[in-house]
Symmetry: C2
Subunit: 177 residues, 2 copies
DNA sequence: CGATATTTGATATGGTCCATAACAATTATC
DNA sequence: GATAATTGTTATGGACCATATCAAATATCG
C-alpha cells in the first residue's frame, strides 16, 4: 500500500499518478520499457483501499473547490449541524480527531465565520459548538455539490445498488474489523 | 472524513477510537450524555472509506508485527519480486511514491538486507532493485501472514463473494474515478 | 468545607508522510 | 561536442497525527 496524496487545495498537483510509470505516451511504436506487473498487489485489500480513498478525496476536493472545504472540515460541519450544543471534545472524539489537533481546525472554521465557539453556562470550561448562519448556508451548498458532483459520480460508475452495497461493506469493516 | 491513525509500529496507541465519544462505560444507569448522531456522515463515501482504510492498515500492522513490515514496505517487496531488474524510478512511480521519498524507504529495506540496489551496467545512473534471499524469505512469510490473518478476516466478515466484489469495486474507483 | 483529582480547551513539540526545488553524475539529443 | 533530459539524492516545507503539559473550571471525597 502506498500511493501519494496529490491534489490538495484546489489545483491538481502532478505528483505521481501510479500505473503509468513511464511518461504519458500514446502508444507510439518505440522501445517503450514495458509496464510493470502489479501482480498480487491488485488483490491486496489495503492497497486498493488506499488508492480508492485517495481518488475519492481528490475528487471531493475538486468538487468543493468553490467552497474551500476539505473532507475533514465537511465532516465537522455535518456533525455540528446534526448535534448542536455539543462541545469540542465530543465533536472531535466522535470524528476520531484528537483534541489538540481540533483546536487549529476550529480556529480555521471560526475565522471563516462558519462555526462559533460559545462558552457553556453550565460548565464554563467547555465550548459549545454551533454553525453560524453562513456556516449553515455553506454546508447546504456543500451538500448539494457532494450529492450532484461527488456521490452521483459513484452511481454512474457502480450503479445505485452497488454503491449502497459498497458503503455498507466499508461501514462493516470500519466498525467490526 | 477524518479519523486519526492510531496503532503504528507494533503496539496499540490509544488515540481516539471514534464512536465512543464518552468513555468506555458498560451501560451503567448514569446521566450519560447521549451518544452523538452521525447522521449523513455514515453515508458519506469518503468518510466511511477513510475509516475502513485506517482499520485495515491497523490490522495489517498487527499481523505484520513479527516481521516489522508496513503496508508500503510490503507493497515495495511485492512489486520488486514481481518485476525484477527495474530501477528505483519505475518501482516508485508505479506505487505512486515520489522518487525523493523513495530513497529513505529503500535505505531502510536495504539496511535490513531485504532488498539491494545494483548499479546498472547499461545505464550507470540507475539502480536496479532486487530482493535478497532474506528479502524473499521474509516476503514469503509476509504473504502467508497476510493470507491467513489479514485477508482471511475479511472473508469471515463479508464472505468470499462479497470480498471479491468489494475489491473489484475499489479497483474500479481507484482506476476510473 | 477544603484538598485532591478530573475534565476542558489550549500550547508546544516531535514524528511521519507527502511534495517541490535543486544538484551531481550520467546519458540522450541535436 | 554543446545542450537537454534522466536518475538518484539531499534539503526543505507543509499537512496530519500523537503525546506531554498547562491553567482554568469542575467533580470527588474525606
Amino acid at each position: 500500500m502506498t500511493v501519494s496524496k496529490s491534489a490538495e487545495k484546489t489545483a491538481e498537483k502532478s505528483s505521481e499518478k501510479p500505473a503509468d510509470a513511464a511518461k504519458g505516451r500514446k502508444d507510439a511504436g518505440e522501445p517503450q520499457a514495458e509496464a510493470l506487473q502489479l501482480g498480487e498487489l491488485s488483490e491486496q485489500l489495503g492497497y486498493v483501499l488506499k488508492r480508492a480513498q485517495l481518488k475519492v478525496f481528490e475528487n471531493f476536493l475538486r468538487c468543493m473547490a468553490s467552497l474551500q472545504l476539505t473532507p475533514a472540515q465537511f465532516s465537522v460541519l455535518l456533525l455540528v449541524e446534526k448535534n448542536p450544543g455539543r462541545n469540542q471534545t465530543e465533536i472531535a472524539s466522535t470524528l476520531g480527531i484528537l483534541r489538540p489537533n481540533f483546536v487549529a481546525m476550529l480556529d480555521n472554521l471560526e475565522s471563516r465565520d462558519l462555526c462559533a465557539r460559545i462558552r457553556s453556562t453550565n460548565d464554563r470550561r467547555s465550548h459549545i459548538l454551533v454553525l453560524t448562519d453562513k456556516g449553515k448556508a455553506v454546508l447546504a451548498r456543500a451538500k448539494k455539490l457532494v450529492a450532484t458532483k461527488h456521490e452521483a459520480r459513484l452511481n454512474d460508475l457502480l450503479g445505485q445498488a452497488n454503491r449502497e452495497a459498497l458503503i455498507e461493506m466499508l461501514s462493516k469493516i470500519a466498525n467490526e474489523f
